[in-house]
């Protein structure tokens, strides 16, 4: 196994960090405090090429492999970009755009991918429902076929980018009686009669990503907006897991590197009892613990990315371990970083406070830790 990155990947990483530090990070605190979606930063991610990195050049992408794509996400976190913007990017690119790219027709790809890759349109994915979280197959949103159209009725819940999305990839039952096999996938555009998004939920963390309900009331969707075959939706949703366990987790890992650098600097500058606190064993141990988490977490996400690049099928055990480790085990280091900063760490001005709040999402979104453990115990 080769664990080294190429010179081009390292050069690109440096550019992503430089770009993010200059163009995005100065805007983070203000938007996080206000809980505002940063449209300008999102558009800049598109201009820079992040939003469409892994799509082909003829669709506005850069033909990046998965490892490089994951590296870009990690670099955003490392530069200090907040978990809200990186989550918005993840949901947009991997849960929405990639589903259209991977399973859509040429016409669907040509219509949506260039606009999503550039950031001109924002995408979201509607899977979770008020009564169907981990138990996805129990969804009740219906897509009834009437002639050459489908009529959607139902609600989706906790949808990242819901209030700001121009296009949604929505999962709904075309066969009410069937469980997984009855789920189909549709593209719904903003402005379609019968489709609306609820209010942005006020969240504990990832506050710059907007989250809402999606509501479908006799929403008529043309046949051409069906993605793939009827009944193939559940598999499509599961295929996004590969991205979820690599590219969507990578910014959390990069974010911890950002936090570690903050901690090291603070520990060297903060004097107590006549010396920098970095000289105290209790502080050293915290720094070491954060570093240990980062290195283990990096290995897990890059392993999943590397396997995808090799064309190998997703190893569900690895995926569940990665999700659980970064989600649950990341909370300790995020807390350590706050503790290390003392009273300052509890203040918004110090980014460790935001990171602490943002980190709490990782064990919840995209599959809870409890479900991850269920998968792990089933597969060992």
């Amino acid at each position: 196994m080769d664990f080294s990155f190429t010179e081009e990947q390292m050069m690109f990483k440096e550019q992503v960090i430089r770009f993010a530090r200059k163009e995005i990070v100065p805007r983070v605190q203000e938007h996080d405090l206000k809980g505002e979606f940063d449209f300008e930063s999102f558009r800049k991610l598109g201009e820079f090429g992040i939003l469409g990195l892994h799509f082909p050049e003829n669709l506005g992408g850069s033909d990046a492999d998965v490892v490089t794509t994951v590296m870009a996400g990690e670099s955003l976190g490392e530069a200090g970009v907040d978990g809200g913007l990186t989550l918005a990017y993840g949901a947009h690119t991997f849960l929405c755009a990639d589903t259209i790219f991977a399973h859509g027709t040429d016409a669907q790809r040509e219509k949506y991918i260039p606009k999503l890759a550039s950031g001109e349109w924002i995408g979201c994915m509607g899977l979770t429902e008020p009564g169907a979280g981990s138990d996805v197959a129990s969804m009740t949103t219906r897509a009834e076929k009437k002639g050459d159209r489908y009529v959607l009725n139902g609600n989706k819940m906790f949808i990242t980018n819901g209030p700001v999305a121009d296009v949604a990839v929505v999962y709904a039952k075309t066969e009410k009686e069937l469980k997984h096999a009855g789920v189909s996938t549709f593209i719904v555009e903003k402005g379609t009669p019968g489709y609306s998004a609820g209010k942005n939920f006020i969240k504990m963390g990832v506050r710059t990503s907007h989250t809402s309900e999606l509501i479908f009331e006799d929403c008529i969707i043309p046949q051409e907006n069906l993605v793939g075959q009827e009944g193939a939706g559940f598999l499509m949703a599961m295929q996004t897991v590969e991205w979820d366990r690599s590219a969507l987790l990578a910014p959390f890992v990069g974010g911890m590197t950002y936090v570690l650098n903050k901690c090291i600097r603070y520990a060297k500058e903060r004097y107590q009892f006549g010396r920098p606190i970095a000289q105290f064993q209790a502080i050293k141990h915290k720094l070491a613990d954060i570093k240990i988490f980062i290195e283990a977490a990096r290995s897990l996400v890059y392993r999943i990315a590397w396997r995808k690049d090799q064309g190998r099928p997703l190893n569900h055990l690895d995926a569940a371990v990665a999700k659980l480790f970064i989600g649950d085990w990341g909370l300790g280091p995020a807390n350590d970083a706050v503790v290390l900063h003392g009273g300052y760490g509890y203040c918004h001005e110090y980014d460790v406070e935001r990171n602490f709040r943002d980190s709490r999402l990782a064990p919840i979104g995209g599959g809870t830790s409890e479900i991850a453990k269920k998968i792990i115990t089933k597969l060992i």
């Binding site: 081009e8 050069m11 550019q15 990195l53 850069s62 990046a64 490089t68």
Partner: protein
């Protein structure tokens, strides 16, 4: 009948330099003629040169069939500036490798670039208005002199007229004023910051650059022209003021600070 622009070919050469990141804390080495560097020393493309590369790219976007060559003179590390320019979208890279690390006279740099460029028929040669490490601003004008080309410095706007074989230039001068020149091509322009917004290298271009063959020219010290000047000594500025650490309780420190600010007439 509307006139159609004629097929237009043009060759642009952009001169770039790799410099030490300006925020780095520098330490003068034992020779006192250069600064200490090691593997962890961060480098970057001279910011002024980024504007020159971007201007070339904007010309290329406006006129089809423009090709952009990027050249850098310096030790091995300089290749990174060329690669960054290729990542931004330049077509070809040339690295003239000099043996020695340390100070390189602008006359030597300009001579090496001029001797490379003299038989290549470049229509336009661009350079940053200066390099942020030494701020001499000599390389561009010297290339022009060595190749007997017209030159405009501190260019804040340019407009090419390929059919007339000229370039219209606005130069930034003191007080926000501009003076305007028309130069016949080929010409050398040094580009002022603010003329454009340099783009970041794209991954597509970085990957494309990987496949491109970089032209590398090795120049030994004996092949270089004699520099016209030498570094006598580098010195850090003497500390003119020392910091004061206030002692005491928070209230005592606040009172001391207030007194200092009043003494310096910052507060009245």
């Amino acid at each position: 009948m509307p006139s159609t622009p004629r097929a237009f070919t043009m060759k642009i050469l952009v001169c770039v330099k790799q410099v030490i990141e300006s925020e780095t804390t520098i330490r003068i080495d034992d020779s006192e003629k250069w600064i200490h560097t090691d593997k962890s020393t961060p480098y970057r493309m001279n910011r002024f040169d980024e504007f020159a590369v971007e201007e070339a790219l904007l010309i290329k976007e406006k006129f089809p069939y423009v090709t952009i060559d990027v050249i850098s003179v310096g030790p091995a590390i300089s290749v990174m500036a060329v690669k960054r320019a290729l990542g931004m979208g330049a077509d070809h890279g040339i690295h003239i490798i000099t043996e020695q690390e340390g100070y390189l006279s602008p006359y030597v740099t300009a001579s090496l670039i001029a001797s490379f460029a003299q038989d290549k028929n470049f229509d336009l040669i661009l350079a940053g208005v200066m390099a942020e490490d030494h701020m001499q601003g000599q390389v561009g004008p010297m290339i022009a002199e060595l190749l007997s080309l017209p030159c405009a410095t501190s260019t804040i706007f340019e407009r090419l007229s390929p059919n007339n074989g000229t370039v219209y230039v606005e130069r930034e001068i003191e007080g926000g004023l501009r003076d305007t020149l028309e130069l016949s091509l080929p010409a050398v322009l040094t580009i002022q910051t603010g003329i454009n917004k340099p783009r970041y290298p794209s991954l597509s271009n970085v990957l494309r650059a990987k496949k491109q063959k970089m032209e590398t020219i090795e120049v030994s010290s004996s092949e270089q022209p004699e520099p016209k000047e030498r570094v006598v000594r580098l010195a850090l500025p003497k500390k003119s003021r020392s910091g004061v650490v206030l002692e005491g309780t928070q209230q005592e420190k606040a009172a001391q600070l207030l007194q200092i600010l009043r003494d310096k007439s910052i507060l009245t």
